[in-house]
C-alpha cells in the first residue's frame, strides 16, 4: 500500500500559484457544467452564455464594475482586520450602518449644495460604520469576547435597525406605504463619470485601494500591524500596543464598509430601502481571503464574483436555469480555491510502504 507523503514546500513560484489557482477554477467550472448537464441543459454552452453575459460586452463589463464596487470596499475593510488575525465578519452590519448614516444626512439636509452634502454623507457613513466596528473591538480588548460572534450578531442588529427606520420613522409618505425613504435630493446623489453609469464611487475605490497598498507597504504602522498579525511575539515588541491595533483595524474596516453603504445608497439606489442588503459584506470576506488580502487581487476577485452574478442573470434568460445556480458556482469556486492553497504550501508525494 502506498501512502501519501506531505512535505512543506520551501518556496513557491508565481507560475505555480497561477497554475493551481486556474486548476481550482477549472475544477469548480466542471462541477458547475455537470450540474447543468444533469438538468438537461447544454453544459459547455451554458458556461459560454455565462461568460458572454458577464464579460462579452462593454456594458456588461460596466455592470460588473458597478456591482463590484461595494464588494471591493467591504473586502479591503475586512482584509485590514484579517492582516492582524482579527476576524471581522461584521462588514454586512457596518455596510448597513454606513447607508443609514449617509441617508440620515441626506434626509435632514436635502437642500444643502452638493459639495457640502456629499462629503458630509460620506463622513457620516464612515463614522457610523466605524462606530459599528468599534463596539466589537472594545468588547474584544476589554472583555475578551470572541469578535466573530459579536460582529455576526451586530450584523443582525444593524439590519433590524435599518428595517425599523424604513418601515417606521423614515418611510416616505408618498411611497404608498412601501418600506423606503423618500428619494434623495439631487445634491445627495453621487455624480456619474462622464457618460457611463459608473459613479464617482469608482475613484473612491481606486483611492482606497492604493491607500491600502501604501499603508501596508510603506508605513511603519502598516508594517507593525502585519508583523503582529503574523506573530504574536512580534506584537509584544511592537511600538504600538496590540489593543490599539485591534481598535484601529476594526475602525478602519468599519469606515470602509460604511463608505460602501454610502456609495450604494447614494449612487445606485438614490434612497434607502431594505433591498440594499444584498449580502455584500459576506461575499467580501470570501473575496478578501481568496485574494490573499492583496488589494489588486481583491479588486480582481470582486470584479469576477460580480461578473458571476451578472452572468447568471443572462444564463437565466438564455437557458432558464434557476437563479440559485449562481450560489452553487460561487460556493464551488470559493471552496476549490480555498482548498487549492494547500497545494501551494505543501508537496504531495507517494511514500512506499515501510
Amino acid at each position: 500500500m502506498y501512502r501519501f507523503k506531505i512535505t512543506k514546500r520551501q518556496e513557491t513560484s508565481i507560475w505555480h500559484s497561477c497554475l493551481i489557482f486556474f486548476g481550482a477554477l477549472a475544477i469548480s467550472l466542471s462541477f458547475g457544467s455537470i450540474i447543468l448537464a444533469l438538468q438537461g441543459k447544454p453544459p459547455i454552452g451554458g458556461l459560454t452564455y455565462l461568460f458572454k453575459g458577464a464579460f462579452g460586452d462593454l456594458w456588461a463589463l460596466e455592470d460588473c464594475l458597478i456591482k463590484g464596487l461595494p464588494i471591493f470596499l467591504c473586502s479591503i475593510g475586512v482584509a485590514i482586520a484579517f492582516r492582524l488575525q482579527v476576524w471581522n465578519i461584521g462588514a454586512e452590519g457596518q455596510f448597513a450602518m454606513g447607508s443609514i448614516g449617509a441617508t440620515w444626512l441626506a434626509l435632514v439636509f436635502p437642500d444643502q449644495p452638493q459639495y457640502l452634502l456629499l462629503p458630509g454623507m460620506m463622513g457620516a457613513s464612515m463614522l457610523a460604520g466605524a462606530l459599528w466596528g468599534l463596539i466589537p473591538a472594545l468588547l474584544k480588548i476589554r472583555m475578551r469576547t470572541n469578535e466573530i460572534i459579536v460582529t455576526l450578531m451586530m450584523n443582525y442588529l444593524a439590519i433590524y435597525i435599518l428595517d425599523y427606520l424604513v418601515y417606521g420613522p423614515w418611510k416616505d409618505p408618498t411611497s404608498f406605504g412601501f418600506p423606503m425613504t423618500a428619494q434623495f435630493s439631487p445634491g445627495a446623489i453621487l455624480p456619474m463619470i462622464g457618460n457611463t453609469r459608473l459613479s464617482l464611487g469608482l475613484w473612491l475605490c481606486i483611492f482606497f485601494g492604493i491607500a491600502y497598498w501604501v499603508f501596508f507597504r510603506f508605513t511603519r504602522l502598516g508594517f507593525e500591524l502585519k508583523a503582529s498579525g503574523e506573530n504574536m511575539k512580534a506584537a509584544k515588541y511592537a511600538r504600538i500596543p496590540y489593543n490599539t491595533l485591534v481598535i484601529l483595524v476594526m475602525v478602519m474596516g468599519g469606515a470602509l464598509a460604511g463608505t460602501a453603504g454610502f456609495v450604494e445608497s447614494s449612487a445606485n439606489l438614490n434612497r434607502l430601502q431594505p433591498s440594499i442588503m444584498a449580502g455584500y459584506g459576506y461575499t467580501a470576506i470570501v473575496v478578501a481571503w481568496i485574494a490573499r488580502l492583496n488589494p489588486l487581487f481583491i479588486a480582481l476577485a470582486s470584479f469576477l464574483l460580480a461578473g458571476l452574478r451578472v452572468g447568471v442573470e443572462h444564463l437565466q434568460l438564455d437557458l432558464q436555469v434557476p437563479a440559485a445556480f449562481g450560489d452553487i458556482m460561487e460556493g464551488l469556486i470559493l471552496l476549490t480555491v480555498l482548498a487549492s492553497a494547500f497545494f501551494e504550501k505543501y508537496r504531495i508525494g507517494l511514500r512506499k510502504p515501510a
Partner: protein, 353 residues
Amino acid sequence: MKKIVMLFAIAAVIGFSTFSWAGKDLKVGFVYVSPIGDAGWSYAHNQGRLAVEGMDGVTTSFAESVSEGPDSERVIMNMARRGYDIIFATSFGYMDPMLKVAGKFPKTVFMHCSGYKQAKNMGNYFGRMYQARYLSGMVAGAMSKTNKIGYVAAFPIPEVIRGINAFTLGAQAVNPKVEVRVVWTKTWYDPATEKEAAKSLLDVGADVIAQHQDSPGPQEAAQERGVYSVGYNSDMSGFAPKAHLTAPIWNWGPYYVDVVKQVRQGTWKSEAAWPGLADGIVNLAPFGPMVPKKLQERVLAKKAEIAQGKAKVFEGPIKDQQGKERIAAGNVATDKELLGMTWFVDGVIGTTQ
C-alpha cells in the same frame, strides 16, 4: 402518391404559416422578485408566462430572485438591450428602475405590476384582488362560530391592507358581529413562521384563518386544529382538504396573452390597467364541501354583481378603526385612494404600522 401529396400540403401549410408571421418572433421577458419555487406570487406570474409561451411566434424568458434597486435596473436594461420587445416587472420596487430604463429604450414596451408611474412606453397593471378577497371574506364570516377570524398578513403595504379591509367588509356583510385579527409576519414565504402566526391567532380564539403569504403554512395549522381556512394565490385545497373553504386566486395568463396580442397588432397604448373579476384575472377557487349550498349561491350572486359593476366593495359609509368616516355614504373609493390605502376598516384588530 397520396402520402406525397399530403406531405406537400403539410409543407405548404407550414411554409405559408411561417411566412405569414414573417419578421421575427416577439420576445417577452419577465422579472420576478422571488424564486418561481416560492409557490406563490412569482409562481402565479410564471404560470401567466407559460400561457404566453404557448402563443405562436412568441418566445419568453425570465429572471428570478432579482432584488429591487440596482440589480433590477441592470436586469431590465439587459433584457431591453438584448432585444426583448415586452418586459413585465412584477414587484413594486421595480418601478423607478424600470422608469429609468424605459427612457433609454423608447421602442421597447415596459409593463410594471403594482405601481403607479407611467411613461409613453411604460404602462402599469394590477389585479383587483380585493374583489375576490371580499367574496372569500363572506364565506369566512358565515362559517365562523366564534366570530373571530385570524388573518396572517405579510408586509404592512397597501396591497395587503386593502385585501384585509375587503375581506373584513365581506365578512361583516354576512355576519355583522365578526372581528378580524391581524398578525404581521414580515415574510412572503417562510412556511414555518407563517404557520406559527396562524397558531397564535388560533390560540386567541379565531376559528377561520386567512392569509396573504405564499406558503400553505397557515392552511396546515388550521387543518391540524380542525378549523377552517381561506387560501391565497392558487387553490390550496390540496394542502388542507378538510379546512380549505375557498381562496382568492390569481390568473395572470389571459391578461398577459392579451397585452402581447395588442403589442403585436400595434394597438398597445400605455395605460394604468386594473382588471378584476370581470376579466378573470382574479377569481375564487372552488368551494370546499363544507360550504353550504345556500352560502355558495349567495357568494356567487355577489360575484356576478361585482363583475357586472352593480356592486362595489369599497362603497360608503365606511369607518376606520377609530370610528372616523373615511368613505362617505353614497361615495365609492377612487382607485387612487385604494392604491394608497394605509388604514384599517372598523372591525379589524391590529395596526397598519
